[in-house]
């Protein structure tokens, strides 16, 4: 177990700058998830920590030692790969024992470690099987066992669940969460799936184009996204965005006008913005209410998705615009073709400035 500290980490491949000045602190025993769209550099960042890629600039510390120039085995990290990368010609036991044997451990120690790891992951009955005789979930567990057997200070996961089918993914997600709870070791986990990030993480790191967009707990990221990108990335279905013209602001908040919604008085501090600027209004699907259409502020329902416990209603502001989504408990009384008015829950509305940064709430600013 150990903490990890990244200071101004940079990575350049040829002419492409993949990781740009990343600062991050991962506490001892923390479960941190790197999340972002493909190409954002999350896997590269993980491989820099693992030692599979060399660091171009900056300092990487594990515990309190700088490990920039140490090979992976001396960093005390274990890694679980997306494709599992089990050694196909070795049994489960040999797969887990391989690293221990290379470390020249005594045979009894190797045996003890492997058996202990197998017990934790419920692999005891499979020790003599070859990887090809295992199911996807079992292979995944063996891959974790191999990484754990060497008792690394930090466990790294590179999209470990993306090769599994949906139901197994949920199950393995659960197992990883319980494993972290039991071992209490520091874990860094890379995924492009925000549901995995939300369910597993103590701390989520949202990456975009090689930069950290926001770091925070799942609750923080969901309730107070720092940018429009984070707001759109976290949460499913995604947040609705609408252009909103700033009409004015005072010490209680601001007034905006959004097409189809009319004038709204919001609690955000927009004093830094000029009047008439086009801001972005963000509302999560569960924070919209539908009402009977009246006047000109109405939307057409173009699709209704029934999911059993809840219903997604898709609305079209103008032909060709991105659809807005409303989410409510099932059953829903709305149907395709109806025209409805939208009432956003003003307490939970987000407002982003022209640079897509979230505007603070007045209340919070006063408290601080």
């Amino acid at each position: 177990m150990a903490s990890v500290t990244l200071e101004k980490i940079n990575k350049v491949f040829g002419h492409t700058h993949i990781i740009k000045d990343v600062d991050l602190k991962v506490g001892d025993g923390e479960f941190v998830v790197f999340v972002g769209p493909s190409g954002c550099g999350k896997s590269t960042l993980l491989r820099l920590i693992a030692g599979l890629e060399s660091i171009t600039g900056g300092e990487l510390k594990i515990a309190d030692g700088v490990v920039n120039d140490l090979p992976p085995r001396e960093r005390g990290v274990g890694m679980v790969f997306q494709s599992y990368a089990l050694y196909p010609h070795m049994s489960v036991y040999e797969n887990m024992a391989f690293g221990l044997k290379l470390a020249k451990m005594a045979n009894e120690t190797v045996d003890d470690r492997v058996m202990a790891t197998a017990r934790i992951l419920q692999l005891e009955d499979l020790l003599h099987r070859k990887p090809k005789e295992l199911s996807g979930g079992q292979r995944q567990r063996v891959a974790m066992g191999r990484a754990m057997a060497r008792e690394p200070r930090i466990l790294l996961f590179d999209e470990p669940l993306s090769n599994l089918d949906a139901s197994l993914r949920v199950q393995m997600r659960n197992e990883i969460a319980r494993l972290h709870h039991r071992l209490g070791s520091t874990m860094i986990y890379v995924t492009h799936d925000q549901v995995e990030a939300m369910t597993l993480a103590d701390k989520i790191v949202v990456l975009r184009e090689g930069r950290i967009e926001q770091v925070g707990s799942p609750q923080t990221l969901y309730q107070q996204p720092a940018t429009k990108f984070v707001a759109g990335f976290i949460g499913s279905p995604t947040m609705n965005f609408m252009p909103a013209e700033l009409l004015g602001s005072d010490d209680k908040g601001c007034k905006v006008k959004a097409p189809g919604l009319g004038e709204l008085a919001l609690p955000q501090d927009a004093s830094g913005e000029t009047r008439g600027a086009v801001l972005t209004l963000g509302v999560r699907p569960e924070h919209l209410r539908l009402a009977e259409a009246e006047g000109e502020n109405s939307f057409e329902i173009v699709n209704v998705e029934y999911l059993g416990n809840e219903v997604y209603v898709y609305l079209e502001p103008k032909a060709g615009d991105t659809l807005l989504i409303h989410r409510s408990e099932a059953p829903s009384r709305w149907d395709i073709g109806q025209r409805v008015a939208l009432v956003p829950d003003l307490e939970h509305v987000h407002l982003f400035d022209t640079h897509d940064r979230a505007l603070d709430l007045i209340k919070r600013r006063q408290a601080a």
Partner: protein, 280 residues
Amino acid sequence: MNQYQLIKLAKRVGLYALIAVVMVYAIFPFYYAVITSLKPSSELFRVDFWLSSLDFGNYVQIFTQKSFVRAIFNSILISFSVVIIALLLGITASYALGRVRFRGRTTVMLTILGVSMFPQVAVLSGLFEVIRALNLYNNPGGLILSYTIFTLPFTVWVLTTFMRQLPMELEEAAIMDGATPWVTITKVFLPLMWPAMATTGLLAFIAAWNEFLFALTFTLTDDQRTVPVAIALISGGSQHELPWGPIMAASVTVTVPLVVLVMIFQRRIVSGLTAGAVKG
């Protein structure tokens, strides 16, 4: 029987007829050699298509000849050495060419491919000087050296394409487990590369086993010759007599090990040869 069935039958008959032609074309020479080798010399020039007698005299004759037995031994020594050296160098080279990124990697690969296209005759005289300079003339070492030169490009090329197909994550997993490149090659890659190694090894073996030009040029005395040369130099009682019986017996004797080896490894050869074909 309607017309459709008739056409189907005709197609089938045609296919098997074609197969029969190819089989006869490929196998008949060897078959005739076997038959001839089992005939006593008195019946040698009577044309028979079936086994008419079972006379092992020719075989007894060649195996009692010391130089021929010695030639077989030389061929075995040389061929096995070539295979072992080529595979050892081929595996390590393919790791470098398939896995390590360095400037000029493609150039090296293309050079290797280019080298394998040189005709033997083109390098014969140059190689002769090299072998003389290294003091390997009339010595198995000279043949091992020259065969390895011609076997390596193919070996390296095939093993490199095969090595490239092994998933990158497998190597990274080994690195995370603390393996050095040598451990990765021997403990992780080698066990997975048996099909490719069997293919290239066998082809290298066949090439070394059958080679004639170098073997003739770089050896002088009977006790250093390899089988193909020894067979060519089997002579009869007089200048005007070619001893077909013993020649055929010798040919059959040296072909059988190859046939057996190919039979054993045939499935691997096929999978090894096609393995690099689809994904380059």
